[in-house]
């Protein structure tokens, strides 16, 4: 669905953020885009949406060139940024203003999601940041666009809303859509993400599905560190040692610990890269 072919990108007068990256994203999945602050996650998302243009290389999104910003392409992309901007409009007028841009927009769904999120029927100016964010999420999900990009969607959401968001994502994802979520709050959404893209220092460290991660690696808490076993990464505390190691035929599959995987990927880049490329 999305293909980066030898793409480089840098902001003007700065060194390249990404150099010659290749990346492919497929429909039917919820991608988790992970990376440290300033790693270029938002930039990667903006490239896909045609909000910034590659310096070199070719990028195609459903066989279209995002930089051309053709209506047929824009119909199918909904981008929910981290910092949201909302005009002084009644929430329903705000919805009505966006609807015409998305041919598959479903107003019933929009109203239903607003209700689920407890959004008051009032002017956006009277809403809190979290409420505005939920209006954007409701709009994005109701757009039925094929590519929905969410940059830090759980920021500002209260506890019940995070749960509603998880249910909402589980209900809308299908084999024709691709959802990309950039997040630092991995525990908020880790049961929904089924593909992981890990970026660091302008490189794609990993682009794989969670299933292959748990096939190849085990994540466990161990009371002692073995001197004979090779670990890819571990963290020690009084509670024990959190270990990431290659899975052998004797190891049962364990639950993916995304935070631990992230730290392993950042701290042991080369071995993790080798395992998944």
């Amino acid at each position: 669905m999305i293909r980066f072919n030898n793409v480089s990108f840098g902001y003007p007068k700065q060194k390249l953020l990404y150099a010659n990256i290749d990346l492919e994203l497929k429909a039917g999945s919820v991608y988790g885009l992970l990376g440290k602050n300033g790693a270029g996650k938002s930039t990667l998302l903006k490239l896909m949406a045609g909000l910034v243009y590659p310096t070199h290389g070719k990028l195609s999104v459903f066989n279209a060139d995002p930089t051309k910003r053709e209506p047929s392409f824009l119909h199918e992309v909904f981008f929910i940024p981290e910092e949201i901007d909302t005009p002084s409009l009644h929430v329903l007028d705000f919805g009505a203003e966006h609807m015409p841009f998305y041919p598959k927009f479903n107003n019933e769904q929009f109203l239903h999601y607003l209700k689920e999120f407890d959004i008051p029927m009032t002017n956006l100016n009277n809403m809190s940041f979290g409420q505005k964010k939920k209006v954007w999420i409701a709009l994005g999900m109701a757009s039925n666009a094929s590519l929905i990009i969410l940059d830090e969607p759980t920021n500002g959401l209260d506890i019940p809303s995070k749960r509603k968001l998880r249910k909402l994502i589980a209900s809308v994802i299908n084999e024709n859509t691709c959802m990309i979520i950039s997040t630092h709050q991995v525990k908020d959404l880790d049961s929904l993400i089924d593909k992981i893209i890990l970026v660091d220092e302008g490189e794609i460290i990993v682009n794989t599905d969670t299933e292959s991660i748990t096939e190849k690696l085990v994540f466990k808490l161990s009371s002692d560190i073995s001197t004979t076993e090779q670990y890819l990464y571990y963290e020690s505390s009084l509670a024990g040692n959190l270990i990431v190691k290659e899975r052998t035929s004797e190891d049962e599959a364990t639950k993916l610990d995304l935070e631990l995987f992230f730290n392993a990927g950042i701290n042991n880049k080369n071995e993790i890269k080798q395992l998944f490329n």
Binding site: R163, S171, I193, K255
Partner: protein, 129 residues
């Protein structure tokens, strides 16, 4: 659902469904929730639930009737019991043994408590009747 244990999520969901079959919440030859329904309910990716359902089909516990949904098989209770027994024996029991050894708990002590537990359970279910 809180996925706290170390097991893969799709296995934890399989365990959950097996428990529902044993408790009678899901009955033999009856339809169980669709992949989508269960994914929304448990707040997980539908692909994960699909994997659980494939796993349970391999274990001959449920069947996919095309266009209708997933159904609990006849005689699935036997297979569910065998599956959960195997899981208990291979995973939970070694943990229990490990703790018994550390804490120097004798198997006879456990047996006494277990007999007591069974006795109480019988009394309780009699009272209910």
């Amino acid at each position: 659902m809180n996925f706290h244990s170390n097991k893969a999520i799709y296995i934890q969901i399989a365990d959950l469904i097996c428990e529902k079959i044993l408790s009678g919440a899901f009955k033999e030859e009856e339809r169980i929730p669709s992949v989508r329904e269960l994914a929304v309910d448990l707040e997980v990716n539908p692909n994960t639930v699909m994997r659980t359902y494939e796993y349970l089909q391999d274990l001959d516990i449920i069947t996919n009737k095309r266009g209708v949904g997933f159904f609990v098989n006849i005689n699935s209770i036997e297979r569910v019991t065998a599956y959960l027994r195997k899981e208990f024996m291979e995973q939970e029991l070694p943990n229990l043994f490990k703790n018994m050894k550390i804490l120097a708990i004798n198997i006879n002590e456990i047996d006494k408590l277990y007999q007591h537990y069974l006795q109480n359970n019988i009394n309780n279910s009699n009272e209910k009747k």
